[in-house]
C-alpha cells in the first residue's frame, strides 16, 4: 500500500510543524500557491510504520551477504555514522566562516593527505560526489591540460571494451569521442590493437585496474608507455581500488589522474543507491586543474590553521562541480574509516579481499561452475560464466541470480562486463567470513542441481520475495512514474 493510500484529508497528527498557518497576506496573490500539493496526510505513527515496513522489503549488507561485483559491499562501520552525526558536524553550515570550521577542515585535510598516500598521487580534491563525477573531473582535467598546451587535436578517449558504462558516458560529457580498445581472452587489454589506435588524436585512456574482468592488467607499464609516448594521459577508474589498497599505488603504475569510490573502498554506506563520494587524485601535471574547493593548511604542525583553497588559489581549476564542497558527510565517514583502519588495516584490505575472492572462485569452480578467466588469479572479484548452464538447461545468469534470492543471498552483478556472456561478477569483500561464503557456495551448488532437475522452477524464481519477477516491458510501455489520486 502506498503512503498516499493511507492519507486522509485534514489529518494533522504531528508535532513536527508549527500548529498554525502563517500570515502570508504581505505577499501578493500572484506569488502564492493556489492548489495544495497532494502530499500524504498521515500520522507520525503511520509514517514510521509505513517506512519501517518498506525497509523490511530490502536486502542489505546489514541483513544479507551481498556480493555485488564492482560495488564493494563491505561492512559500513556504525562508528562512522556516529561521528558524522555529531551535532557540531551535522549542523555545520557549508559557508560557516573558517573561524568556526577548523575541526571539520582538519579532518578533510587529513583525508586528502591519506588519499594522496594510498594512491601515490600528488594532489587530491574531495569534491566529486560519486565515481562518475570523479571521472568527469578527471577527464575534464585531461582536457584542460591539453587545452592549456594548445594541443587541440586531442579529440579521442580510449576505453577498453570491458569498461564500466560511466567511462564512455563521461568521455562524451567532456566533449571527447570514445574509441573502444579490445580485450584479450585472458582479460588483459590487447596492447597490439591499442598501439594501432593511439596517435596525436589521443587525449588519454580510461582504465580500471584490476579491470572489470576481475584480473590485474599485467601490461599496465607498457600501456602507460604507449599512451605517454603519443602525448596522452592515463585515467584510473578507482572503482576496484579495494583489490590493491595498501598493495599497489595507481600513481606508481603510471596513471596521471584517478578517482576513488569512497562508498566502495572506504566503506561508506551505499544508501540504496547513494550518496557516495568520488574524490580525484592527480599527478604533478594535472595539479593546476583540480576542481575546487580544496582544503589547505597553514602555520606550523603544532598550531596549524586550515582554509579553503578556491579559484583564487588555483586559477586554472576546472571549477566547482557542486554548490559547496560535495558530499562532506560521506567524506567524514571515509575519514573515520581510514582512522579506524589505520596503516596496518589499510594494508590488509587488499589482501583479505583478494583471499576471499580467490577462495570463492576456486570453490565455485570445484562445484561445477566455469570461471571466465580460469588461468588467472582472481583479484578482489571474479567472473563465472553460465553459458553452459544456459545452453544445457535453459537456465541463464539472471535465473540463477533470482534463485539466489530465495536462498536469502543477494545476487552478484549480472551481465557485466558485457564481453563475458551470461556472467556473474562476484565480489565478496574482505569483511565477509568464510562461513558466509561457504553458504553462498553451497547455495550455488544446490541451484546447479535444481537447474538439472527442475529448470522451470529455477526460471520462475524468486518465490520468497515480496513480489515475483516484474513486468519490465509494461513498466516502460505504460509509464507510471507518479501516483495520481
Amino acid at each position: 500500500m502506498l503512503i498516499f493510500e493511507q492519507s486522509r484529508s485534514g489529518r494533522k497528527a504531528t508535532a513536527q510543524s508549527p500548529a498554525a498557518a502563517a500570515d502570508l497576506s504581505g505577499l501578493p496573490e500572484a506569488f502564492i500557491r493556489k492548489e495544495k500539493p497532494a502530499l500524504p496526510e498521515v500520522s507520525e505513527l503511520q509514517a514510521i510504520r509505513h517506512y519501517t515496513n518498506l525497509s523490511r522489503k530490502n536486502f542489505s549488507i546489514d541483513t544479507q551477504f551481498y556480493p555485488l561485483g564492482s560495488c564493494t559491499m563491505k561492512y559500513n562501520p556504525r562508528g562512522a555514522l556516529a561521528a558524522a552525526t555529531l551535532p557540531g558536524i551535522l549542523n555545520r553550515h557549508p559557508l560557516a566562516p573558517e573561524s568556526h570550521s577548523q575541526g571539520f577542515l582538519s579532518c578533510m585535510y587529513e583525508l586528502q593527505e591519506m588519499l594522496k598516500d594510498v594512491t601515490g598521487m600528488k594532489g587530491v580534491s574531495l569534491t566529486p560526489m560519486a565515481g562518475a563525477q570523479g571521472e568527469f573531473a578527471g577527464v575534464a582535467m585531461i582536457r584542460a591540460y591539453h587545452q592549456a598546451r594548445n594541443d587541440d587535436a586531442r579529440t579521442e578517449i580510449l576505453v577498453p571494451s570491458a569498461a564500466h558504462g560511466t567511462n564512455p558516458a563521461t568521455a562524451v560529457m567532456c566533449g571527447f569521442k570514445v574509441r573502444e580498445v579490445p580485450v584479450n581472452s585472458d582479460g588483459d587489454v590487447d596492447v597490439d590493437a591499442l598501439k594501432t589506435l593511439v596517435g596525436p588524436q589521443t587525449a588519454g585512456i580510461m582504465m580500471t585496474n584490476p579491470s572489470t574482468c576481475g584480473v590485474f592488467e599485467r601490461q599496465i607499464e607498457e600501456i602507460a608507455q604507449v599512451i605517454h609516448d603519443v602525448g596522452g594521459l592515463l585515467y584510473y577508474d578507482g572503482a576496484n581500488l579495494n583489490a590493491i589498497l595498501g598493495k599497489v599505488k595507481p600513481g606508481d603504475m603510471g596513471f596521471d589522474v584517478m578517482h576513488m569510490n569512497l562508498h566502495k573502498t572506504f566503506a561508506t554506506p551505499h544508501g540504496g543507491g547513494g550518496p557516495g563520494a568520488g574524490p580525484v587524485a592527480v599527478g604533478e601535471r594535472l595539479l593546476p586543474y583540480l576542481p575546487t574547493p580544496i582544503v589547505g593548511k597553514e602555520g606550523s604542525d603544532d598550531a596549524p590553521s586550515y582554509r579553503w583553497l578556491t579559484d583564487k588559489d588555483i586559477p586554472e581549476t576546472i571549477g566547482n562541480l557542486s554548490a559547496f564542497m560535495g558530499n562532506a558527510g560521506i567524506l567524514i565517514r571515509a575519514y573515520v574509516y581510514a582512522v579506524m583502519l589505520g596503516k596496518g588495516g589499510m594494508h590488509r584490505v587488499g589482501e583479505y579481499a583478494t583471499l576471499n575472492a580467490n577462495y570463492m572462485a576456486k570453490q565455485l569452480e570445484k562445484a561445477g561452475f566455469q570461471l571466465a578467466y580460469p588461468d588467472r588469479r582472481a583479484t578482489h572479484e571474479f567472473i563465472i560464466t553460465l553459458s553452459k548452464q544456459t545452453k544445457d538447461y535453459g537456465v541463464n545468469a539472471m535465473d540463477v541470480a533470482k534463485r539466489l534470492l530465495d536462498y536469502n543471498l543477494h545476487a552478484p552483478t549480472t551481465y557485466f562486463p558485457l564481453l563475458v556472456p551470461e556472467c556473474h561478477l562476484i565480489e565478496p569483500t574482505e569483511t565477509e567470513s568464510k562461513e558466509a561464503m561457504d553458504e553462498y557456495i553451497a547455495a550455488m551448488a544446490s541451484i546447479l542441481k535444481e537447474a538439472e532437475t527442475d529448470a522451470d522452477m529455477v526460471r520462475g524464481a524468486p518465490y520468497t520475495q515480496p513480489v515475483k519477477r516484474l513486468d519490465d516491458v509494461k513498466a516502460a510501455r505504460e509509464l507510471d512514474l507518479a501516483w495520481k489520486a
Partner: protein
C-alpha cells in the same frame, strides 16, 4: 583486525583450497616493481572509542554559534523519526535496486518520492535524484538542449540572480558541450530579473531559460511573466526553486500560461541536515513530453508474474549502464539515502505542515528585517518581496561585520560582496522556523554592538 573476520585457521584452510601457501602468493601477477611500500601518511589505527573522542573534540570546535546563513543550505527542524528510519540497515546499507524483487522497499519509496516531488512542483514526473542543486541545474540545461530539438542555437539564458556557485558549476559541467550560457542582467533596485532586461533577446533562437524562485537574493521573481516570455521565444523554461518555498509559493508547473518544462533544485531543505554541504540531492521534474530526455534513474510501477503491483527501474535505455556513450548523463550512484530521508520528511509534514513551516520561515524573516532595519544605517537592499532570505545593506563592509559577528557567536549571513562587486556592504541573511524571538534579539544586539565598534 578491525572489520576482517578471518581467524588463522580460516586463512590456512582457504589458502589450502586455493592451492597457495601465502596471501602474498595471490599477488604474483603484479609486477614486483609496482608493489607499494609502507604507507607514510596513514597513522596507526584508532579504536572506535579513541576515534569518537577525537571527533567529539573536533565537532565541538565548530559548534555553538547561531546561524543566519542560507545561500543554498538551510537549517530546518528535522523530525527525529526521519533519520532514525532512514538509517535502518535495510535502507542505509542496500545499493541501487538492481534486483527489484529484493529491493521493493527502496523502489516503492522512490516511487513515492517521485510522486511527492512531482506534486510539490506541480509537474508530471520526477526522477530519483541527481547529486545536488548546482550539478542538477547543469543536467537540466543539458536536458533542455537535448529536448528542444527545434532550437539550434544551444543558447541558455541565465539571470544574474541565480546562485553564483550554481552558475559556475553549470559553466564547469557543460563547458565541453558547445553551449552558450548568456547572463541576463538583474535590476539593482528590485534585485530581480525584469522583462526589460530580456528585450534584447526577444525574437532570437533561445534554447532554454533558467528562472529562479526565490532568487539568490531571496527576492521573488515575476515567474509568470518570465515564463511566458521564454515560451514565446520557444525556449524551454527551467524553474530553479527551493522546494520548501513551494509549499506556499506558486510551483513551476503552474507558472505563466503553460508552466515550466523542467523544475530543478536542491532537496536539502526537506529533511536533510546542512552537514557542511552534503550529501544533499538534486531533484528534477519535467513534463511527460520530455521524460525520455531525463537524466538519472526513474522508478515505474508495474506488476509481477501474479499481477501484483510492484516497482522497478524503468526507461533504463537513457542510462550509462545500458547506453554507455549515448546516455543522457554519466550519473550512476545518486543520492538515494538523502531522498529516503526527504520522503519520510514530506510524509511527516503533509501539505499543511509544510506550508506552516515555510510560512514560519517567512514570518521570522520579516520579523528580523524589522528588528535589524531599526538599527541606523541598516536597510533592505532591494524593494519587492522575499521568502526567507533577504539582502541587507550595512553601514560598513559586510566582510568586516560578519567577522565581528562570528566572534560573538552569530553567523550573520553571506557576504554578497564575494560574488557581486556592487554589494560589498550587503549581507544575505536567512531566517528559518528554527529561530526564536530571542535569537533575533541576540542578532540585533550583536549587530548594533559590532556596528558601534566598527563605526565608532
Amino acid at each position: 583486525m578491525p572489520f576482517i573476520p578471518h581467524t588463522e585457521q580460516d586463512v590456512q584452510e582457504m589458502l589450502e583450497t586455493i592451492g597457495v601457501s601465502s596471501i602474498e602468493d595471490l599477488f604474483d601477477e603484479i609486477p614486483p616493481q609496482l608493489r607499494a611500500g609502507e604507507l607514510t601518511q596513514v597513522p596507526e589505527a584508532l579504536s572506535e572509542m579513541d576515534m569518537m573522542r577525537r571527533m567529539r573534540e573536533r565537532a565541538a570546535q565548530d559548534d555553538g554559534a547561531l546561524c543566519f546563513i542560507g545561500a543554498g543550505a538551510y537549517e530546518h527542524h528535522i523530525p527525529a523519526a526521519v533519520w532514525d528510519v532512514a538509517t535502518r540497515g535495510e535502507f542505509m546499507t542496500a545499493y541501487t535496486p538492481y534486483q527489484a524483487e529484493a529491493s521493493q522497499g527502496t523502489l516503492q519509496l522512490i516511487y513515492e518520492y517521485q510522486s511527492m516531488m512531482a506534486t510539490l512542483m506541480a509537474m508530471d514526473v520526477s526522477n530519483a535524484s541527481l547529486y545536488d542543486g548546482a550539478s542538477g541545474l547543469a543536467e537540466a540545461v543539458l536536458m533542455a538542449v537535448r529536448a528542444n530539438r527545434k532550437s539550434k542555437s544551444r543558447k541558455i539564458l541565465v539571470p544574474g540572480t541565480v546562485h553564483p556557485s550554481y552558475r559556475s558549476a553549470l559553466e564547469a559541467i557543460v563547458e565541453a558541450q558547445n553551449i552558450e550560457i548568456v547572463e541576463v542582467e538583474w535590476d539593482q533596485q528590485s534585485g530581480t530579473t525584469l522583462l526589460d532586461a530580456l528585450g534584447p533577446f526577444t525574437g532570437e533562437d533561445i534554447t532554454g531559460m533558467v528562472i529562479a524562485q526565490p532568487n539568490f537574493f531571496g527576492q521573488l521573481e515575476d515567474v509568470n511573466a518570465l515564463t511566458d516570455w521564454a515560451h514565446a521565444q520557444k525556449a524551454l523554461v527551467i524553474g530553479l526553486v527551493n522546494p520548501m518555498a513551494m509549499a506556499v509559493l506558486e510551483a513551476p508547473g503552474n507558472w505563466g500560461e503553460k508552466g515550466a518544462d523542467i523544475a530543478v533544485g536542491d532537496g536539502q531543505p526537506l529533511g536533510v541536515p546542512m552537514a557542511s554541504g552534503g550529501p544533499y540531492y538534486g531533484f528534477m521534474c519535467c513534463t511527460s513530453a520530455i521524460v525520455r530526455q531525463m537524466p538519472g534513474r526513474l522508478i515505474g510501477r508495474t506488476v509481477d508474474l501474479d499481477g501484483k503491483p510492484g516497482y522497478a527501474l524503468t526507461l533504463q535505455a537513457r542510462e550509462q549502464h545500458i547506453r554507455r556513450s549515448k546516455a543522457t548523463s554519466n550519473i550512476c550512484t545518486n543520492q538515494g539515502l538523502a531522498v529516503t530521508a526527504s520522503t519520510i520528511y514530506m510524509s511527516m509534514q503533509g501539505p499543511d505542515g509544510l506550508a506552516n513551516t515555510a510560512g514560519a520561515c517567512y514570518q521570522n524573516t520579516q520579523a528580523l528585517v524589522e528588528k535589524l532595519t531599526s538599527i541606523e544605517g541598516v536597510e533592505k537592499a532591494f524593494s519587492g518581496h522575499n521568502f526567507h532570505e533577504v539582502a541587507l545593506t550595512l553601514p560598513a563592509k559586510a566582510s568586516a561585520v560578519l567577522e565581528k559577528l562570528a566572534e560573538r557567536e552569530v553567523l550573520g549571513g553571506f557576504d554578497l560582496g564575494l560574488s557581486y562587486s556592487s554589494l560589498e556592504n550587503t549581507v544575505l541573511v536567512c531566517v528559518t522556523e528554527t529561530k526564536t524571538d530571542s535569537d533575533l534579539e541576540v542578532y540585533k544586539l550583536a549587530l548594533a554592538d559590532v556596528l558601534t565598534e566598527l563605526n565608532g
